[in-house]
C-alpha cells in the first residue's frame, strides 16, 4: 500500500479534465508529498506522463485495475 497525502478522483472525467485537476493539486503539495490520481479515461495515461515531464515530478507507481488507472505521483 502506497501512502499518499492527497487524492483526486477523476473517474468519469475526460481529457483535459483529469490532467488539469492533477496539475492544480500538485501545485498545492510540498516537495516529497504524494498525490494519488484515479482516472478512467485511457487518454489520462499519456496525459499524466506528459504532465509529469513538464513539472519534473516523479511517478512512483502506476497501475490499472478493473478499467481504472491509478497514478502515485511524488512532488519534486
Amino acid at each position: 500500500m502506497i501512502e499518499f497525502q492527497s487524492e483526486i478522483d477523476a473517474r468519469g472525467l475526460s481529457c483535459p479534465m483529469p490532467v488539469m485537476k492533477a496539475k492544480k493539486e500538485l501545485k498545492l503539495l510540498s516537495t516529497g508529498e504524494v498525490l494519488h490520481v484515479v482516472a478512467s479515461d485511457p487518454a489520462s495515461v499519456q496525459d499524466i506522463d506528459i504532465l509529469l515531464e513538464s513539472l519534473n515530478d516523479e511517478m512512483i507507481h502506476a497501475s490499472e485495475e478493473n478499467g481504472e488507472y491509478h497514478f502515485y505521483i511524488k512532488k519534486s
Binding site: G12, S14, P16, M20, K24, S40, A43, I50, G67
Partner: protein, 401 residues
C-alpha cells in the same frame, strides 16, 4: 459482380477512413489534446503532429495537382470560394474551438472515442449531428445567420482575386498575372512553414508515435483528395451527372467531420435511401470502425458514460457548439484545419487560428475557475485574455498560474 463507380469511391473512402481511425487511436492523435498539452503542460508533441499533418497534406495536394491536375476550384465544401465570409470563419472556428474543448475532442476524436467505447462521444455525435443537420437542411441557418453572414461576406472578384487562395491574394498584392507561379510558390513556402513549425518541436522529434500520427493523418487527407478528385473520382462525378436520381454529396472532397455528422442524421432518418450515403457518412463510419478495431487489438476498448450531470451538460453544450460552429466555419480541426489548409485557402487558415484560440481560451478559463473556485466567469475570462496577451496586465483579476 461489377460495382457502380460511386460505390467504389465510397468503399475506398471507407477504407482510408478506417486506417485513419486506427492510426488516430494508436498514436493518440488529437487536435484538442494538442492544444491541451501545449496550454496546460507546455508540451508541443501533439501540436507538432497536427502541424506535421498539415505540411504532409499540403505537400501531397501540390503533388496531386502537379500529376493529376485535381480541380480544387470546385470542391465540396468550397474552400476556395470567391465569397470570403471572414466573420463566419472567425466566429464558426471560435465556437467550434470552445465546443470541442467542452465535448472532450474534435469531430475526428469524437469518432475515435466512440470506437474505443466512449458513449459520451456517441451522445456528442448525436447532438452535434442534429445541430449540423439544422444548420444545413432546415431554415435554422437562414433565420439566425444568413443575414449577417451575407452582409459581411466580401466578393473577392471585385478586387480581381479569382478565389480566396493565398496565391490569389499575393497575385493582387504584387500586381502579377502569373497565377500558377504564385500558387506553387505559396504552396511550397506554406508547406515548409508547417514542416518547420512541426520539427522545431523537440517533443515531436522525440516521440515517434506523434510523427506517425501526423504523417498518417496527413496522408489520409491526401488519399481522400486523390480518391474523389483523381481519375476515379472525376469519372464518378461525370457518371452522376447523367443519372435521374443522383446520390447526394458527390464531388471533389477530403475528410471533414461536422457536416458529415448532419449527413449521417439525414441518412438515419431515411435509412433505406442509399442515395443519402455520402463520402462524409462513410468517413464517419470508417473512423469509428478503425478505432474500434485498434481498441480491441490493444485491449483498450472500454465503455465510458457521463460522470455526473455537470459532465453531461458540459458535453451537450460542447456538442451543440461543435455542430453550429463547425457548419458556420465550414469545417472542423480536420476539415478546415488540415483538408482546407491543404488547398491554401485563407478562410481555412482563419478557421484554424480561431479554433485554436477558442480552445486555448476555454482551457484557461476552465483552469482558473478550477483553481479559484470563488472567482466569477468574467474574472476568469479577463485573466485568461491577459494570459493570451490580448489584454494588458492592468486588467488581470486573478494571480497568474
Amino acid at each position: 459482380m461489377q460495382l457502380e463507380i460511386t460505390t467504389v469511391v465510397l468503399l475506398l473512402s471507407f477504407i482510408v477512413a478506417l486506417i485513419m481511425g486506427a492510426v488516430a487511436n494508436k498514436t493518440n492523435f488529437c487536435t484538442m489534446g494538442a492544444v491541451s498539452d501545449w496550454v496546460n503542460m507546455g508540451d508541443t508533441g501533439r501540436m507538432g503532429a497536427w502541424m506535421l499533418s498539415i505540411g504532409v497534406a499540403i505537400a501531397g495536394v501540390l503533388l496531386l495537382q502537379y500529376i493529376f491536375e485535381i480541380p480544387l476550384a470546385s470542391t465540396f465544401p468550397p474552400y476556395l470560394t470567391s465569397n470570403f465570409g471572414w466573420l463566419r470563419y472567425l466566429l464558426g472556428g471560435f465556437m467550434f474551438g470552445i465546443g470541442m474543448t467542452l465535448a472532450s475532442g474534435c469531430g475526428n476524436k469524437t469518432m475515435v472515442n466512440i470506437g474505443g467505447g466512449n458513449l459520451k462521444s456517441l451522445v456528442v455525435l448525436a447532438v452535434a449531428g442534429v445541430f449540423a443537420y439544422l444548420m444545413t437542411k432546415t431554415s435554422f441557418y437562414e433565420l439566425l445567420f444568413h443575414g449577417w453572414v451575407s452582409a459581411t461576406t466580401i466578393d473577392l472578384t471585385a478586387y480581381e482575386m479569382p478565389n480566396q487562395s493565398l496565391g490569389s491574394a499575393l497575385l493582387v498584392v504584387f500586381g502579377s498575372s502569373n497565377n500558377e507561379l504564385f500558387h506553387w510558390l505559396v504552396g511550397l513556402l506554406l508547406m515548409c512553414f508547417f514542416f518547420f513549425i512541426a520539427f522545431r518541436s523537440k517533443d515531436l522529434r522525440s516521440t515517434p508515435h506523434n510523427i506517425t500520427g501526423g504523417v498518417g493523418i496527413g496522408l489520409a487527407i491526401v488519399a481522400g483528395w486523390y480518391i474523389t478528385g483523381g481519375s476515379l473520382g472525376q469519372e464518378a462525378i461525370e457518371t452522376v451527372e447523367w443519372l435521374d436520381e443522383r446520390p447526394v454529396g458527390v464531388g471533389v472532397q477530403s475528410y471533414t467531420f461536422i457536416n458529415p455528422m448532419g449527413e449521417t442524421v439525414s441518412y438515419l432518418m431515411d435509412p433505406m435511401n442509399t442515395l443519402l450515403i455520402t463520402f462524409g457518412v462513410v468517413a464517419i463510419l470508417g473512423v469509428i470502425t478503425g478505432s474500434f478495431i485498434a481498441s480491441i487489438f490493444s485491449r483498450r476498448f472500454k465503455f465510458i458514460w457521463f460522470y455526473n450531470t455537470e459532465d453531461m451538460l458540459k458535453h451537450l453544450i460542447g456538442a451543440a457548439l461543435m455542430g453550429i460552429g463547425g457548419v458556420l466555419g465550414m469545417g472542423c480541426t480536420i476539415g478546415q484545419g488540415i483538408t482546407g489548409v491543404s488547398t491554401l485557402s485563407i478562410g481555412s487558415l482563419l478557421v484554424l487560428g480561431s479554433i485554436i484560440f477558442g480552445s486555448m481560451l476555454t482551457m484557461k478559463v476552465m483552469y482558473y475557475k478550477m483553481v479559484y473556485e470563488e472567482a466569477s466567469f468574467i474574472e476568469s475570462l479577463i485573466t485568461s485574455l491577459v494570459d493570451l496577451n490580448l489584454l494588458t496586465e492592468k486588467f488581470r483579476k486573478l494571480e497568474k498560474l
